[in-house]
Every structure is written in C-alpha cells, then in structure tokens.
Subunit: 426 residues, 2 copies
C-alpha cells in the first residue's frame, strides 16, 4: 500500500523559457500552489535553472524549500524567478542524445510531470519532450503553459504577458502625449516610442488605445505587418502636426521597408560603418526631423515594457495564474502534449474560460495581427481591435511597496543534489 502510494507520487519539473514577462512568475505560482494541493500525486516541484537547460544539466531547484508566502509573492514579481533560456531542442531524428539525457534525469529524480512555460518556440520543445513517453517507454505527462508579450501563440484568444505589456505601452503613450502636447508650442512636436514586436504588431496596436478623445491626435502606428512607405507616412505626420500642433508615433522594432529590410538597419551606422542593430525609434524620429524639420523626442522601452510588473494588468495576472493552475489539473488527468488556452466567451462584459489545445498544433506557429484590426490607411487600429485589446488591460494588480520600491521576491533557489555521475554540455 505504502509502496503503491510511493509509486503513484511522482515529482514535477517546471521551467521558464524564452523572453520573460511581467506575469510569467504568476504562472509559476499557479503551478506550484496547485501542485502543493495535490501532494498525494505530486511530490516536489523541481524548477529547471534556466529553462530546459536545467533539466539537461541536472541543475534542478527544489521549490519545496520556499515558503508558501514566498511562492505567493511570485504572483507579483516580474522576470523569470528560476532563470530562462533561449534554447531549442534538436529534432529526435537528428540528435537523440538530449532526449536520452532528459530520460536519465527524469528517472533519477522520479519526474513524471513536465511543465514548460514559454512562447511558440518553447511549445515546440514541450511537444518534443511529450514524445518521450511513447518513444522511450517512460511514463511522463507533458503540458505547455503559454507565455509571451508578443501575443503570437496560436489557438489561445490571447497570451499571458500581453495584457500587461499592452497596458504599459498604452499608458506610456498617453502620458508622453500629455507631455509633448505641453511642449509643442515652442519645442518638441513629435514623440516616437519604439516598442517590441519583430514579426507581429500586437504591442504596436496596443499603443493605439492611448487615444483618449476624438479631439486628440491619433497615435501614428507603424506595424511590422505594413511595409514602411515614407511619402504617405510623412504626409500623415505633417497633417497631424498641422491639425493638432503635435503628434505621437509608435513604431514596432520589426518595421520593414518595401523591400522587406528592417528599417532599424537602414539608418544609422556606428563609427566603423556597421549598421546599428535595434533603434528603429531614433531612425524614424531623425527621418521626420530631416524631412519636416519638427523638433522631436524618442524613447525605446525595451525591457521596461515587459518587466513592468508595477503596472501589470489584473486580468493578465489572473489569466497567467489560472493557466498555471490548469496545467497541473490537466496533468493530473493524464492529458499529455496539451496546452491550456484562454477562450473568450464575450467582449462586453469580458468573460473567458480555460480551454485546451494540442501542443502539436501550437508549436512554431505565429498568430498574426488580423488585417481587419488595422485601419485602411495602415496607421491606426480599428474598433474591433480596440474591443479585443481593452479587456486584456483591465484592472491594476499593484505589488506591495517597501522604501518606495516594489517589494519583489527573490527565491532561495536551492539546488537539488545531483544523482547522476555524468555531465551534459549544452
């Protein structure tokens, strides 16, 4: 009986992958808190230090050494509490070695549940790991948990991480627009904000929500989906400045020209003549100044936008937590190779429920911004886009403060003693 129980109780592995977000730790919190409620099935949650690399190198973190209070604090702490990684597993056929290694580590630590918290690329890794059971005859249930600020994971209405970055950039644009409006008479007339988004314009679209009233100038949005056309753009900037006395521009880092080249690489050269990577914001601002003569300011939000837990969306935090929780309940039901999703039931009032997708259908696919979410002129969002994004930004979930700063948790992250004699290099 005791042995049967022992056999049934297996440990879980949880890891974070890819670029982190303001709420990825809320998903971790959902996983760990839920697993702790099912101790008869799940022994310890081991976190991978730096994503799947922690599994491959047997660098596991014992989350049972963290207090309930500290685990609860993950819900309001940005970044990846256990470290993340940019690493993709090779194909089974090309390179079986990493899979054999994972099997060794899983066996050595009695790991029967595998949770991988990441974007589309990371779900490919989760999908590959989910095949270990069938291919290597080792019982493991593998569940992906979606995460990305880019909102490009398919088969989920939206992705945890996006609502908070959307809220951040919309607030930043609104606040900066009040600033430039004050300065426009004698100084700055054009403000440019560069936001994340290599391929998809979801974050750029969120900047469109900064517009408060029809009497405010429309933020001019430069989407990665719409090839940059200088003449139309300049005419629109001039129109806005002449009509409203100032204008604001949001530009995606991945903006491309008519030939498909990144605009960020077209403008600036360092002193050695190398193209400057990043920085499409300053390129656009300089270009406007050169052609139209307006004084400008520009900002590049970079990590600030995806780390801004201080102003995270309460909806986003809740969804991140619920998907972590759902991943555990799916795993306990024995559902292998799946990912919990967000299904929108209604826009107004906004209601949603947890759904499920197959990892195989999620991996390596990007959900693009639909063309009908972009205005005909290509510089604004449409009413359906606003209706889609607005509820995702709803609510404030403020962290506690200490000495004027958010009191974010730093876990102890104590390593599990290694059991394998062999090392593995990634």
């Amino acid at each position: 009986m005791g042995q049967a129980m022992e056999h049934k109780t297996r440990n879980a592995f949880y890891a974070q992958s890819g670029g982190v977000t303001a709420v990825i730790n809320a998903s971790a919190c959902g996983v760990i808190e839920t697993a702790r409620r099912y101790r008869q099935h799940i022994g310890t949650v081991y976190a991978g230090r730096n994503g799947i690399i922690g599994a491959l190198t047997e660098d596991l973190i014992d989350t049972s050494q963290e207090s309930a209070r500290d685990i609860a604090r993950l819900k309001y702490t940005p970044g990846g509490a256990f470290g993340s990684c940019r690493y993709q597993l090779p194909g089974w056929e090309d390179q079986p070695a990493p899979y054999a290694r994972l099997l060794e580590v899983f066996k050595a630590h009695n790991i029967g549940y595998f949770f991988y918290n990441g974007g589309g690329d990371s779900q490919d890794t989760a999908w590959k790991v989910s095949q270990i059971g069938a291919r290597l005859h080792y019982p493991i249930v593998c569940v992906g948990i979606p995460k990305t600020v880019d909102n490009d994971v398919p088969l989920t209405d939206n992705c945890p991480g996006f609502g908070s970055v959307a809220k951040y950039v919309a607030i930043a644009m609104r606040e900066a627009s009040l600033d430039v409006a004050s300065m426009a008479k004698t100084s700055t007339k054009v403000f440019v904000l560069e936001v994340m988004g290599r391929h998809t314009g979801w974050i750029t679209a969120a900047c469109g929500l900064a517009r408060q009233k029809a009497s405010d100038p429309p933020p001019i949005l430069l989407f990665p989906e719409i090839p940059f056309e200088a003449k139309t753009f300049l005419a629109y900037v001039r129109h806005c400045v002449e009509k409203y006395n100032y204008c604001t521009i949001a530009v995606a880092e991945g903006l491309r020209d008519q030939q498909g080249a990144f605009v960020s690489e077209s403008g600036l050269r360092d002193v050695f003549g190398h193209a400057q990577l990043g920085g499409v914001g300053p390129v656009i601002a300089h270009f406007v100044h050169q052609k139209l003569g307006y004084r400008y300011h520009w900002a590049v939000a970079d990590y600030l936008q995806r780390a801004a837990r201080h102003i995270a969306s309460a909806t986003d935090v809740e969804q991140a937590y619920r998907l972590g929780e759902a991943a555990v309940t799916l795993a306990l039901q024995g559902k292998n190779a799946v990912m919990p999703t967000i299904e929108r039931i209604s826009h107004k009032p906004y209601t949603w429920r947890v759904g499920v997708a197959a990892l195989q259908d999620v991996a390596n696919r990007e959900k693009m911004l639909p063309r009908e979410f972009i205005s005909r002129n290509g510089f604004s969002i449409t009413a359906p886009c606003r209706a889609y994004i607005q509820p995702l930004m709803h609510g404030e979930a403020y962290p506690p403060y200490k000495h004027g700063l958010p009191d974010y948790v730093r876990l102890k992250n104590i390593a599990v003693p290694k059991r394998l004699a062999t090392a593995f290099t990634v």
Copy 2:
C-alpha cells in the same frame, strides 16, 4: 465700500514653464484650490496658455470655468495642463518692450498676482517680472514655484518633480535587472538605461536605489559629473558580469568624455555622417559589446520618465501641491520676489516644512550632486545619497483608472476674451 472691495480683489496669473513633470499640475491644483478659498482677495486665476507666452500674447485661460472636480483631478494628471514653453525674458536693459507689454496685459485684466511654475531658468523670468512693480509703478506680487525633474533648483532641499522621476527610474532599473538576470545564461548579460540629466546626476543617482540586496550586482552609474573613462568602466563591467553573470548600467544623457565632449555625440553617425544627437544609452551598450562581446539590451526612457504619473511618489505629489498652496499664501502676505521651498527637518522619520527663498538667489543657479553622494570609484551612490533620495520616492499616489488606463483630466481651457487691440509677437 463696494469699490474698495473691488479694488482689493485682484486677479492672478499662473503659468507653467520649461520641461513638464508628473506633478507640475499638482502645484497648479494647489494654486487654484487655495486661490478659490480666498475669493475676497483673488478674483480669477488666469492661466497662461504656454507659459509666459500666454501673458505676452494675451492668451489667457479662464480657470474659473473649470469645475472643482476637474481642478482636483489636476493632482493626478501629468504634463502641463495649460501648456508650457521654453522662453526666457530678455534683460530689462536690453529689451524693455516685453515688460511694457506684460504691464498692459496685467492692467487690462486686473492681474495683481503672478505665479510662475518652473526650474532655475524660469525663476529668472519670475525674478524679472517681480521687478515690474518697482520699475513700472504697478503693484504686483510675484512668486515662483519650483519644478524640475532634474532636482537642480538651489535653496530647496529637493524640487517637486524629482521624487517621482527618481521612483520611476529606480523601479525601471529594478524590474529590468530581474529581466536580464533571467536571460543572462544564454542571452543578454548587459542592460543599459539612459536617463535624463544634461548637467547634474540626480536622476542617475536615483537608479542606484534599484539595488535590493548586497548579493545583487551594483547598478553601474555613469554620472555627468564624472568624465567617462573607458578603461576603468570596461574593467568594472567585466568584473560585475564575471561575478554576478550580468550587469545593469544607468547612463545620464549628459555624460561627457575626458575632453568634455558629450559621449552621445561621439559614437553614432547617421547615413550622411552627421553626429547623432541623443542616444548615449545605445552608444554605451554598443561599446561594451564591441570591447567585451557581451549581448546587450538598452532602453531610453526619455519623456516616459517625467510623464509617469501612474507611479508618481506620494511624497512628491504632496510637496508639489503644498508649494502651490504656499505660493498663494505668500502672495496674500504681499511677499514679492520669493519662492516657497522644501526644508528637510529629519531623514528618519522623514519630516519637512515649507520655507522661503528670494528669487534673486534662485535664478540661473544649478544645485549639483555633491561629490560625497558618489562613491570613490565614481560608479555608485553612497549611503548619504541613498538616505537623501529614499524618502522622496516614498508612497504611491495612484490615479483612478477607466477602461484599463489612467483617467487623466483634460481641462476645457477656455480663452479669456482679449481686451487689447494690439498683438505681440514672441
């Protein structure tokens, strides 16, 4: 009797000047709400549209047309609600015309109180206007109200606007450091944040408060007061990355090299070979990458930092309001050519009171960051600096939200009918 009353009741002029802040409207709120409590002395508060330019061009805003509720909402709205300007009055001797014009406008609108809300440059304008009474035999009481994110106004312990930007940049650095710490294993190891500060390092110093624990890497601070020395800097970056696996760097826009030239102008050239103005953040990030090979990210906060009312310091909001209030009570006491100040009584607990300085002593002087606030190696802040800045960031004064965004007020800003036949061009 009625006439005597009429004679005693005079109107006030209030205007905003220079770069705006997250809390300058809280000072406006303090002025207008206090003036409304003294209707027997102060008739209407006219706001200058775009600073002193509004007075010169007789473009006055009738704030009595705004509801008490909307005036109260100024307390949590960033930017300059009436428009600001970058404009300095010429010297009396060089050009008497603007003063004659101001006199005309003041007479036409029975303006007996003049409030000017700005930094050191703007207090010079306030000082010049305060001489109208004696020189042109027109009774006017002129009071300055300090405002600047740069914290460089002298004779006040700190300046409204600074506490909020300090809080913003310290939070941004802390959040970004959690992000880069997560990514460092396989990706970004160095994060650079460019902050405001052409001449003084107060904002850069505030970034130093991001450090939570001694076990965290110290944020490397590049102050405008400390000439940039590449070798020492690179050695320190390498030391931090080797010890902690990552590092964060805050750099002031006004960082200069050993020859006194702006570092922002030394690095990048546009395609035509012109120096790129602004952008010392990317220059430093590229330089680190070139010399040490580390992967990097950089952000430029620009207007976001000074417009970030969503995370303003409650202490700062309170002080901005109180100085607006104090300006009115000083004016009612007939104190001409003064500016209310903040006097620190104690660090811990932090207590302060309102003091008074003479405008003549304030105008055109900058309060530099004391050398003893900077560590010996030049890259960190000292304990006294931390003790000075920390209370100024204390407390959160969240604005109300609507549809996921701060519900900032836009005033009606209705123009007062012009009474003068003549125009004035600035």
